[in-house]
Amino acid sequence: MALLLFDLVLCALLLLLAGAAMLSRSLTQAVTLFIAFGVMMALAWARLKAPDLALAEAAIGAGLTGALCFTALVRYAKQPAYPQPALWRPLTFIGLVTALLLASLSQIPLQPSSAIPALVQQHLPQSGVSHPVTAVLLNFRAWDTLLELLVLLLALLGARQAPGDLPRYRGWSLSISWSRLLSPLLLLVSGYLLWRGAAAPGGAFQAGALLASGLVILRLNQQLSWLSWRHFWVRMLVLGGLLAFVLAGAVSLLLQDLGAVWLSWPQSIAGAVILIVESFATLAIAVTLTLLVVGEPKPEVADA
């Protein structure tokens, strides 16, 4: 009973935050509400027993999205206020569509009819890891993960074509030393998440997102000035995830018999291959997201 009430309040909070973010007059308020919405989504994933997603959402929603949106807000600094458009026409149309969608929800069967989860459970012992989500991401559907790394790379290359012009600024010493104090802990927890991914919720995406949040926070506090695209090894780190993936695919193709499928690992070394690929993927995800979020600062701008 209390759990049902909990669900009710959680859903009400989610809808309230999203609605207020869309309709609020000030953009700063909208961004603040959206960040709070991200934290609430992490709670919703925890409630729906998806701890993997809760980990990723907490890292992305509480760290990366905040930095991204506040950077955008900085650019909106002196824009004139936009007039508020009328509400009734979009509201009628969207309300109608949403009502139809809501009515169609009763068609969703309560019993899942897909046979795929059973297949995953059946092949889990041969995958090299014991956590099903990691097995799906890095073994059964390794193609998806490979292509996702490609998408990340493309996003970074695209964003590099549109550089911003944010000046550097000197931070407070309290904030700088606090971020320095936290950084070993962030590194430790990312490593822990990566290692745990074999047997429990965790893995490359969560560890990469957390590491990226940590790096972003350090970058915003004037640390890690070497972390930019100009540096050769940073570029190698960005490419490393894809390269390790393709290399692992090629090597395991050679090790297996003729007729083996691309990106299927030999069973005896599957665990090791997954760990190596995941380590490189974590670093690649972390560095790519960091560069995407903080961008390149202008070479030198005088302090205030």
Partner: protein
């Protein structure tokens, strides 16, 4: 049972709210936020569908969880790309 439909309904309503924000705007930044809200609604629909086996005492559907996990990271990178374009646009408007 009731919670299941509650979360399904919330997912659909989130998509609706996001669609409203996407239509109405008026700032581009708010439209990007609206796309993220629509994405959150769709992810929630998928995770709620993955929750169905839990109601029968089985583990949740890991394939859907993996899909949503991929989606979360792709969504944040797409948002970052969109915001970079937005930043460029605002710089030129100055």
């Amino acid at each position: 049972m009731l919670s299941f439909y509650l979360y399904l309904g919330t997912a659909v309503l989130l998509v609706g709210i996001g669609g409203l924000g996407l239509w109405r705007g008026p700032e581009l930044l708010r439209r990007i936020l609206a796309l993220n809200v629509i994405g959150a609604g769709i992810f929630m629909l998928m995770v709620t569908l993955a929750y169905r086996p839990v109601m029968q005492g089985e583990p949740a559907d890991s394939v859907l969880h993996a899909l949503v996990l991929t989606g979360l990271v792709v969504a944040v990178s797409a948002t970052a790309f969109a915001l970079a374009l937005l930043g460029r646009l605002l710089t030129r408007a100055d």
